[in-house]
């Protein structure tokens, strides 16, 4: 079953007199439990595609179905609720809230889902345990390394058991050793059945995904199925 169905996605940025076509009639499907990497050169439209699929942005035209729900036409609040209940995000620069500890960063979306504090706290600790950072639960982001912050970001993305985790170049700011550890975390999640859509410009990391979607100039130019996963 496909958990993501995108059809003829187009995204045009209006910059003064010039219209920039970041996506041009992109269509793709992603199956539940699949690990997909989106790659391409800088400016190829890979991050733009991720933002449309992850409901962080509105496409200029086309449609996106997430878990069977047509998202075009949803209100801003409905999209927020969908992001909360169905999706998880890992951003390139971790995007943790600096005034919250690692545990609290993970707690917030759980509390927003309506979990009582005790239940939310346990889920957050479980998520931290999964990324092997429970001992840093009470640390603020500024007290952690980049790799640790990214693992907290992953824990936040998975704590509420989303159907899809989107990752936007999660290893871009990390050294190779830490990057490999982050990738291993994603592979672990995938092994447990998590659907993952990851943007990366590293061919080596893309090769770890089941499927690699290669983009150039706003269109999908190639799709590679990897055997290693």
């Amino acid at each position: 079953m496909n958990i993501i169905e995108a059809k003829q996605l187009t995204k045009v940025y209006h910059t003064g007199v010039l219209d920039v076509h970041a996506l041009k009639d992109v269509s793709l499907s992603i199956a539940e439990g699949e690990f997909v990497a989106i790659t391409g050169r800088s400016g190829s439209g890979k991050s733009t595609l991720l933002y449309q699929l992850g409901l962080l942005d509105h496409p200029s035209s086309g449609s996106v179905q997430i878990d069977g729900i047509e998202t075009i036409g949803l209100s801003s609040d409905q999209r927020t609720v969908m992001r909360l209940s169905v999706l998880g995000y890992v951003f390139q620069d971790y995007a943790l809230i600096p005034s919250l500890t690692a545990l609290e960063n993970i707690l917030v979306p759980l509390l927003m889902q309506g979990d009582v504090y005790g239940v939310a706290e346990q889920k957050a600790k479980d998520a931290l345990q999964r990324v092997r950072l429970l001992d840093r639960a009470n640390n603020l982001p500024s007290q952690m390394s980049g790799g640790q912050q990214q693992r907290v970001s992953i824990a936040r993305a998975i704590a509420h058991s989303p159907k899809i985790v989107f990752a936007d170049e999660p290893t871009a700011n990390l050294d190779s050793e830490t990057s490999r550890a982050i990738l291993d975390t994603f592979l672990d999640l995938h092994t447990q059945g998590q659907t993952i859509v990851m943007v990366t410009h590293e061919p080596e990391f893309a090769a770890l995904a089941q499927r690699e979607i290669i983009m150039s100039d706003g269109v999908i130019t190639n799709v590679i199925t990897h055997k290693s996963s």
Partner: protein, 426 residues
Amino acid sequence: MSSQKVQSQPSFFTSLSVGWFLATRDLARASRWTTLLIISVMTLTFLNLVVVSGILVGLIQGSVDANKRQYTSDIFITEPLSKVYIEDSRLLASTARATEGVIGVTERYLSSAKIEANYKRQVQADETRDTANASVAGISPVDEDIVTGLSSEIAEGEYLEPGETGSILMGADLLYKYNQITSPDIQVLDEVTIGDTVRVTIGDTVNEFVVKGILDSKLSEIDLRIFMNEGELRQLINRRATNADEIAIMVEPGTDLVPILDTLRSLSGPDGALVRTAEEAQPKFLQDITATFAILGNAIGSIGLAVASITIFIVIFVNAITRRRFIGILKGIGITSTAIQWSYMFQSLFYAGAGIAIGMCLVFGVLKPFFAEHPIDFPFSDGILVATMGGTLLRAGLLLIATVIAGFLPAKIVVRQNTLDAILGR
């Protein structure tokens, strides 16, 4: 597929509790100096709201209080407009004295007088005599002191003794030394000191009196009068003891005035003496000024409230703008706009609440007692700080409401921005 499958919005309580969670963490981990600065601004804003209008009203309240304390006391009885004195004032006074809760009663006999100083000096043809017109009040020094504390207004010399004759107390505004007016319409005595003899003309009677003391208050009913023992004045104006012009009655604090007023009014009859409370007996100009200053106080208060709202708006807006990216991230991970807005409203409520709490402590613990002990020396009153608990709480409530709105609006403006743009800092 339809959007009906989308999960329902988080409940109001959930948004509220997440807003609280975010706000408490933000506040707990914010820079202490920044927090202190914002609370200081809020404290000053609250003080601006309460103290400026409080002082303004306090200027007049000082006069009102002085008028009551030094002149009318709690109940004030005067002759009706159609009569020159109170009929059977002794009955009213003795009834008042016998009434429970009454601390003191003073009867005053009044007449107009012309006072002349330095009258033994030869006056040249181009010189004017050192004269002034005044109202003369005959009092019982003991009763008057109990009710109005007149002896405490002595600026020079001594207070009158009971039964003392040939001595007067002189109001300071009758003397050039205290009242340096050069208008040809207003006469003051040029050179009078304690122990000087002045000539007092009452009707056709001329007598000499020694100036025993000078009274300096900020009340014209004291400062433009001369005082002597009531027996002596009654003799001069040929007035019986039962026909005083004014009666001031002091009662214990908290005493219900209504039964006392009813008793005295029934005694005086419908066409008899005017029996009024201090408030009713306030001079019309004081009532008018009080009303005008109250309007001014409210106007200044409204401006203060607007300034406070703008201040909070700016503080929260700057706070929200600098955290625009984090607001975007919160929205990105599914935190609703309502929860984020609550977070900022809680923070602004905290800043305003802390500012108000400190401001209240300063107003009631420091400023009000200070101004009560050290009134502001205005020409016409001793200015105090008028800040009732009810009025201050009302202003605090208005400030909190303004705070909620002023905290909500900037948060809403920032929250409404495109989520992705906020995350990417575009």
